[in-house]
């Protein structure tokens, strides 16, 4: 589903990603772990082209993100073509970023209505079903400010799912939550995994990674240090840096 | 156009001792004159931006001197001069006021000049021709707010209606330059203002404006005083003295407006 080869990303003179090679198979859950500043969020943002990359190739479902190849040369895509590519990828942010002026249901139906041009009644039916699926059937008309952090994050997940994405990206979806509500959100993600959704999850919850991930990838200083099945990588890390990091967070 | 600044006025400074000046004014020693210095040549600001010049300034100083007072000519907006008399901000108002019945309801006037009204248009080949008030019907007319011509136009409006002619479209501007610009830009067909003013601005406009037709009417200009002020008779007497000793004639000649000279000043002489 995701094929990244030698992805480079620079901010000004700061090299943030220094050649990322990473593959996520369809239907697989991959967890991305690593210290603060290692470039995990940046990589996620490159995957749905919220950031442009300066080198390498990044394809989702066989399509290069942001470019097309014509007569052997890369051509930049237009805004609307990039928007169409993004619409196929769901993204859940650390701080939810729910639209503050819309109710939970309005948040969920906005993109289907405007981007997929679904009929309003269909969008509302789908949105209601999605909110029910994340356990918020009684919060349809609540504004984000009236919801707890865990509830907000579940709305954000429903909002991303409403576009029926092929791939979901999660950027530390539980790290802004208080300890008691973390569980709610992890349950929802666990369900999605069980349904076969392809997911790339940046997380600090090692217990969750161990339980749900098919592959765990450890990044540091803009590079992938090692990757493998969770029980292997988390129990018997090959690389000293991985060991050092795990010692600190576990 | 340039700005003609006439030489300093030559004024007779000899007090006429037999004229009775109200005691409070005598105690104060100065005659405060309110004027809107944007109406050349009746009154305008000298190049220094502080001294007011023109007929009213010169005549005002001469009158004060005759009464044994110092003159203080203060610039004020036209609208605020008559209210300023009530608040005692000014002792007299001299700003080319036409003595009208309407104004006489609130103030007294000592008449000192006789001005007709002239029409002016944009100077161009085949331009608008206006000879009399009747020619105004159906035209766009530019006026300055608060002038006597506003009342003339309102009266003529009724005449046009009575004669079944199209109405005058009146545009009333806050100041005379606005009205002039309306005529120059073609926004208005014709402007109407006191004859001396019309002649002066035609000269200043570098050939953009032209006076047309014959002046009509001869409305008296009056020096405005608070209603019932005892100063009125004093001013009239002083003015009479200036007419007699020739100072009055000199001042008018200086601005080229001898045509409006009067011989006998009066009090409240508005035409019916």
């Amino acid at each position: 589903m995701i094929v990244a080869t030698g992805v480079h990303k620079r901010y000004g003179t700061l090299d943030v990603l220094k050649g990322i090679d990473l593959t996520v198979q369809r239907g697989e859950v991959t967890c991305l772990i690593g210290p603060s500043g290692s470039g995990k969020s940046t990589f996620l943002r490159c995957v749905n082209r919220l950031e442009r990359i300066q080198g390498g190739r990044l394809a989702v479902d066989g399509e290069l993100m942001g470019y097309k190849t014509k007569r052997g040369r890369l051509h930049e895509l237009r805004e609307d073509e990039i928007a169409a590519q993004r619409a196929q990828i769901g993204m859940v942010f650390q701080h939810f970023h729910l639209f503050a002026h819309m109710t939970a249901l309005e948040n969920v139906v906005e993109a289907p209505l405007r981007v997929r041009k679904v009929k309003r009644e269909d969008a509302v039916a789908q949105g209601t079903a999605l909110l029910a699926r994340v356990g918020l059937e009684d919060k349809l008309d609540a504004y984000p400010s009236q919801l707890s952090g865990g509830q907000q994050q579940r709305v954000a997940i429903a909002r991303a799912l409403a576009m029926e994405p092929k791939l979901m990206l999660f950027d530390e979806p539980t790290s802004a939550l208080d300890p008691e509500t973390v569980g709610e959100v992890l349950d929802v993600i666990r369900d999605l995994a069980a349904d076969g959704m392809t997911m790339l999850v940046v997380t600090h919850e090692m217990g969750f990674a161990r339980e749900v991930a098919d592959t765990v990838v450890f990044m540091d200083e803009g590079r992938v240090i090692e990757s493998g099945p969770p029980d292997e990588l988390l129990e018997r890390p090959a690389h000293p840096r991985t060991r050092e990091f795990l010692a600190r967070v576990l | 156009g340039g700005t003609d600044t006439p030489d300093a006025p030559t004024v007779s400074t000899k007090p006429v001792s037999e004229i009775a000046v109200p005691p409070d004014l005598e105690a104060k020693g100065t005659l405060t004159i309110g004027t809107d210095a944007s109406y050349p040549p009746i009154e305008f600001m000298a190049a220094d931006g502080k001294t007011v010049e023109g007929l009213d300034a010169d005549l005002g100083k001469a009158l004060a001197a005759t009464l044994g007072l110092k003159a203080e000519v203060q610039h004020a907006t036209f609208d605020s001069i008559l209210p300023g008399l009530t608040t005692k901000k000014f002792d007299v108002g001299m700003s080319g006021f036409t003595d009208t019945k309407e104004r006489e309801k609130t103030v007294d006037f000592v008449t000192y000049f006789s001005a007709g009204t002239s029409f002016f248009v944009k100077a161009q080949e085949g331009g608008t021709v206006v000879n009399t008030l009747d020619d105004l019907c159906g035209r766009t007319l530019a006026l300055q707010k608060g002038t006597a011509q506003v009342e003339d136009a309102a009266a003529q409006q009724k005449q046009c209606a009575a004669a079944g002619k199209p109405a005058i479209k009146v545009m009333t501007f806050p100041d005379q330059p606005g009205a002039n610009l309306a005529v120059v830009s073609g926004r208005a067909d014709v402007g109407m203002t006191d004859s001396p003013v019309a002649a002066y601005q035609a000269k200043q406009s570098n050939g953009q404006l032209a006076v047309v037709g014959e002046p009509y009417g001869s409305a008296p200009y009056g020096i405005a005083l608070p209603k019932g002020s005892p100063l009125a008779t004093a001013i009239r007497a002083a003015l009479k003295a200036l007419i007699v000793d020739g100072t009055y004639g000199e001042i008018l000649a200086k601005y080229g407006i001898e045509a409006g000279a009067i011989t006998e000043p009066g009090i409240n002489q508005a035409a019916e």
């Binding site: 990828i89 | 606005g178 120059v184």
Partner: protein, 286 residues
């Protein structure tokens, strides 16, 4: 439960202040009501006179149209200024500089008397007499709206900057286009910051419209001035004007607080509502 039955702090300063304000208010009301110079009879007579009401209508027309056009154009200018396209950003900045930098009065004179500069206007196929193309009403609107747009552009820009970046990012991630993001996500949230200063501007505009007097249009204030320039009842007529302005300002302020509540939706926390920002009570003597 052991109740708390405490003696409150004595605040003599507060009582003295209250008394002073009350006395002052009473004195002002009495003096205004009894001073014959206010000529309250004339006020009553002129309040609904035809000329005043005509002026009022023009004032309202100009205010509404100029504000609507000014806000719309202001949004465009703000967006242009914030555009990544250098040319557009420059044009937007120039617009704001030029129109904030020159007095509305001059702008009104310019549009109304443009014929004094350009007797005929040629714009490609259009070829018209300037005076027929731009009527005085058009000139008023052009002058007021173009000027207002420059001020609104600054207000809108501040509003847009106040919306957290994450909102636009989340919209992009969902596949909304830039235009949709602006219209559906960013602007509605920016409104919270945009509405209060726009209220200020609207109330200002109400009064600014009286500048159209320089092109001989009679708004509320100029109508009154024209009347008192003949009748010399300056004080009562100005009171009439103030009464109308105050009435409309009151309505506009009500409208403003309604809009503020509307766009505050979802922003105020539930618990915030019972707990307004508390502020030092500086002016009260301790």
């Amino acid at each position: 439960m052991q109740p708390i039955d405490a003696v409150p702090v004595r605040r003599p300063g507060r009582w003295i202040a209250a008394l002073a304000v009350a006395l002052l208010a009473a004195a002002v009301v009495r003096s205004v009501a009894t001073n014959p110079r206010f000529q309250w009879d004339v006020v009553g007579e002129m309040l609904f006179s035809d000329r005043i009401l005509h002026g009022l209508v023009l004032t309202l027309e100009l205010t509404v149209i100029a504000m609507v056009a000014g806000v719309a154009l202001g949004i465009l200018v703000a967006v242009a200024r914030m555009s990544p396209n250098k040319l557009l950003a420059g044009a937007g900045a120039f617009y704001v500089w030029l129109f904030r930098g020159t007095p509305v009065l001059v702008q009104l004179l310019f549009w109304n008397f443009i014929a004094a500069l350009y007797p005929t206007i040629e714009l490609g196929p259009i070829h018209a007499d300037a005076n027929t193309l731009i009527t005085p009403f058009m000139a008023s609107l052009l002058g007021l709206a173009l000027n207002q747009a420059a001020y609104m552009a600054e207000i809108v820009r501040a509003g847009i900057l106040s919306v957290p970046e994450g909102q636009a990012e989340a919209a992009s991630a969902l596949g909304l286009s830039r235009a949709q993001t602006l219209r559906r996500i960013v602007l509605p949230q920016a409104m919270r910051v945009i509405v209060p200063p726009t209220g200020n501007e609207t109330i200002s505009m109400l009064k600014t419209t009286s500048l159209v007097s320089v092109i001989a249009s009679s708004d509320l204030l100029y109508s009154a001035q024209l009347i008192y320039s003949q009748s010399f009842q300056q004080i009562p007529l100005l009171i009439v004007v103030c009464i109308w302005y105050l009435a409309i300002t009151t309505l506009l302020s009500l409208g403003q607080s309604m809009l503020e509540r509307r766009y505050g939706r979802g922003v105020a926390r539930a618990r915030r509502e019972t707990k307004p920002m508390r502020l030092p009570n500086l002016a009260v003597a301790r």
